[in-house]
């Protein structure tokens, strides 16, 4: 299980605005978390530390379950592998998954390094 930054920011925004109806300043005073940091968390630009996360879960009444990431691609890949009925199918799935992960890896590297990767 891992947690999603999008879900963290979404639930904090929702609970603060619609449930607790408090401002960022008020939440900041209550949690002792800097207002700018809270704003960055709420805008999905900062992963709170584990201590900040626990404080926010307590202050806004939500749990890890509420911010759990959707089932990741691994499960999709594993499901694909599991649906193979013959050895040949399994080998082909294996190749396809490797290619997909390789493409995704290159996409990430391009984004992070800002340069074109040409070979796998």
């Amino acid at each position: 299980m891992s947690i999603s930054l999008t879900k963290i920011s979404g639930i904090i925004h929702h609970k603060r605005k619609n449930v607790r109806k408090i401002t960022l300043e008020e939440l900041s005073r209550e949690t002792n978390i800097n207002k700018d940091t809270l704003s960055r968390i709420e805008n999905g630009r900062f992963y709170p530390s584990i201590e900040q996360m626990n404080t926010l879960m307590e202050a806004l009444s939500f749990s890890l379950k509420d911010i759990e990431e959707n089932p990741d691609e691994k499960k999709v890949f594993l499901a694909m592998m599991g649906s193979a009925t013959t050895e040949n199918e399994r080998v082909n799935f294996d190749k396809m998954i490797s290619m997909m992960l390789c493409l995704r890896k290159h996409d990430r590297l391009r984004k992070s390094q800002g340069e074109e990767m040409t070979s796998c």
Binding site: I3, S4, L5, Y47, I50
Partner: protein
């Protein structure tokens, strides 16, 4: 690699003021430097020289050196592995294991690992070897949290300069490089006088071997002076220094 003798590194300043802090190390700190494949005419440093002039002084100086379990497992070279195992068994090397985290922290660590991995060639799903040690070390450091990461790998160090450090609370984690520790060991007089030349040799091998490096990086004497300009006042103020080498120790 480029040596920075113009800006103070807050991480090194922090170590100058308190040497007894936990320092997570990358695998390359344990593997004898070998530039023989990339620099024509150069030879690899032998393990015995590496141990004498680098590893032993490092372990004599810093009491809380640590290494992530995945990095520890990457040490395949017999002598490096054996050395790390001995240090671990003697209680001189902390092996940082993700299994020590409780459920909440493990969920957090996994999440942070994904964010960091997205900027590297490591795929948590596949658990492939590419960049695994760096990603797992940094995810551990962010979860614990710890203050430093010491590495000689420009890709790993780049992770601490990239936007992710601002995104996942690694902003306070300082990168420490080998040349900074070579200066520290010399300045704090942590090696026997006859080993000072060994530190100089390590510096020269890593930072002043090629023509380009000689143009970009200062020679040892100038390097030491320039580093002193940056850090000497901090060293004078420091009350957290290790005990210097003495023939009577």
């Amino acid at each position: 690699m480029k040596v920075n003798v113009t800006d103070q590194n807050p991480a090194l300043v922090s170590l100058i003021h308190n040497f007894a802090q936990q320092i997570p190390l990358d695998a390359n700190f344990f593997i004898p430097f070998d530039r023989s494949n990339t620099v024509k005419g150069s030879m690899a440093i032998t393990f015995s020289a590496f141990k004498k002039y680098w590893l032993d002084p490092l372990f004599v100086t810093f009491p809380y050196l640590s290494i992530h379990a995945s990095v520890f497992n990457e040490l395949v070279s017999g002598e490096s592995k054996k050395y790390a195992e001995n240090r671990r068994d003697q209680g001189n090397l902390i092996v940082m294991d993700d299994s020590e985290f409780d459920t909440n922290k493990e969920v957090y660590r996994k999440s942070v690992e994904k964010v960091i991995a997205a900027h590297t060639a490591y795929e948590p799903e596949l658990d492939n070897a590419d960049d695994r040690g760096e990603v797992k070390s940094l995810a551990y450091i962010a979860t614990k949290p710890l203050n430093f990461f010491a590495s000689h790998d420009s890709r790993a160090l780049r992770l601490l300069e990239s936007p992710i450090k601002e995104k996942i609370g690694l902003a306070s984690v300082g990168a420490i490089e080998i040349y900074e520790l070579l200066y520290y060991l010399r300045r704090m007089e942590m090696v026997e006088p006859d080993k000072v030349n060994g530190l100089k040799m390590m510096y020269k091998y890593l930072y002043c071997l090629t023509k380009k490096e000689k143009e970009n990086n200062p020679q040892w004497g100038d390097f030491y002076q320039l580093m002193d300009n940056l850090y000497k006042s901090e060293i004078i103020k420091s009350t957290g220094k290790p005990t210097p080498y003495s023939p009577y120790n």
